[in-house]
């Protein structure tokens, strides 16, 4: 598998670390235990295109949001995480 890092270009799988589904969002501080349980433990476990967090730790250290089909491993989109460098230019 090769991921096109928006900063570095296409790179080999070995440079990246996987975290998982990027859809769950960390609940607000007052959201309560059920919301956090859901965030930490429950997964859609998508069979098909899924947007995921990958870390380019073997390269530029950017966290990325990679849209990848879990049935075929085909990658259709990659974008930086909100706080990864360029995304915040001028913010």
């Amino acid at each position: 598998m090769r991921i096109v890092c928006p900063f570095c270009g296409e790179r080999e799988l070995g440079e990246f670390t996987y975290l998982g589904d990027a859809k769950p969002k960390r609940p607000a501080a007052d959201a309560g235990e059920d919301a956090v349980y859901d965030y930490v433990y429950l997964r859609d476990n998508v069979a098909g295109p899924m947007t995921e967090h990958w870390y380019h730790g073997g390269g530029c250290r950017a966290w990325l949001k990679v849209t990848r089909n879990t049935l075929t491993h085909e990658i259709s989109a990659v974008e930086p995480a909100a706080g990864a460098g360029a995304a915040k230019v001028g913010a």
């Binding site: 570095c8 390269g59 990864a84 460098g85 360029a86 915040k88 913010a91």
Partner: protein, 208 residues
């Protein structure tokens, strides 16, 4: 009062044995460790990438690279190291962290990496062939030209790789910054990879 000497020692001080290594005959790979340099990581503050770029321009007279490139200025090399960050490589304290502090005040945060890395310069007509054993990126001259840079990994270890100016005979030069505590181990791996081509080993105090 005891007499102290504060000798600096490169992380490759023991492992590097100047001379030839591996196959006999014309060496296909030349390895030179560059010792004792200043290396500063410059990272833009949130939303201050523009100001950081201006500050860099004012300081070295060149725009800092915004894509994976390395640019040579009169007395420093600026190497892209990630989004909105770059490394300043220089000698003799001209661009040390102390010297750069005021330059980037307010626009960027600095971290001294001078001692965190070892710098190895690789050339020779088998340099590219040898590097293909270590690097998963495409080093074809059309793809990785003079001034191209990459934050990448070799042997599962993070490195910064860039292509310097070609030598007078047209040979490509690949510069490699490796983490100091991994340097000796990676050095042996490089030697093993290069041995079949014959290697010339040396070290230098001069940036290429």
């Amino acid at each position: 009062m005891a007499e102290f000497s504060w000798d600096v020692r490169s992380p490759l001080d023991r492992a590097l044995i100047a001379g030839s290594y591996g196959a006999q005959g014309d060496a296909g790979v030349s390895l030179t460790e560059i010792r004792n340099f200043d290396l500063v990581q410059v990272m833009a503050r949130r939303g201050k990438a523009g100001e950081m770029a201006k500050a860099a321009q004012a300081r070295v007279g060149m725009a800092a690279p915004e894509t994976p490139k390395a640019v040579d200025t009169a007395d420093a090399t600026l190497i892209w190291s990630g989004p909105e960050q770059f490394l300043v490589l220089s000698k003799g304290g001209r661009h040390s962290i102390e010297a750069l502090g005021s330059v980037f005040a307010g626009s960027a945060l600095l971290s001294d990496q001078s001692h965190a890395r070892a710098l190895i310069s690789i050339s020779g007509d088998k340099a590219r062939t040898m590097l293909a054993k270590l690097s998963s990126i495409d080093l074809h001259p059309d793809v990785f030209g003079v001034g191209a840079a990459a934050a990448t990994s070799m042997d599962h270890t993070s490195v910064t790789l860039w292509r310097g100016k070609d030598l007078a005979d047209g040979q490509a030069v690949f510069n490699l910054l490796v983490f100091a505590t991994f340097a000796e181990s990676l050095w042996h791996t490089i030697l093993d990879s290069a041995a079949e081509y014959g290697v010339t080993v040396g070290h230098s105090e001069e940036l290429a």
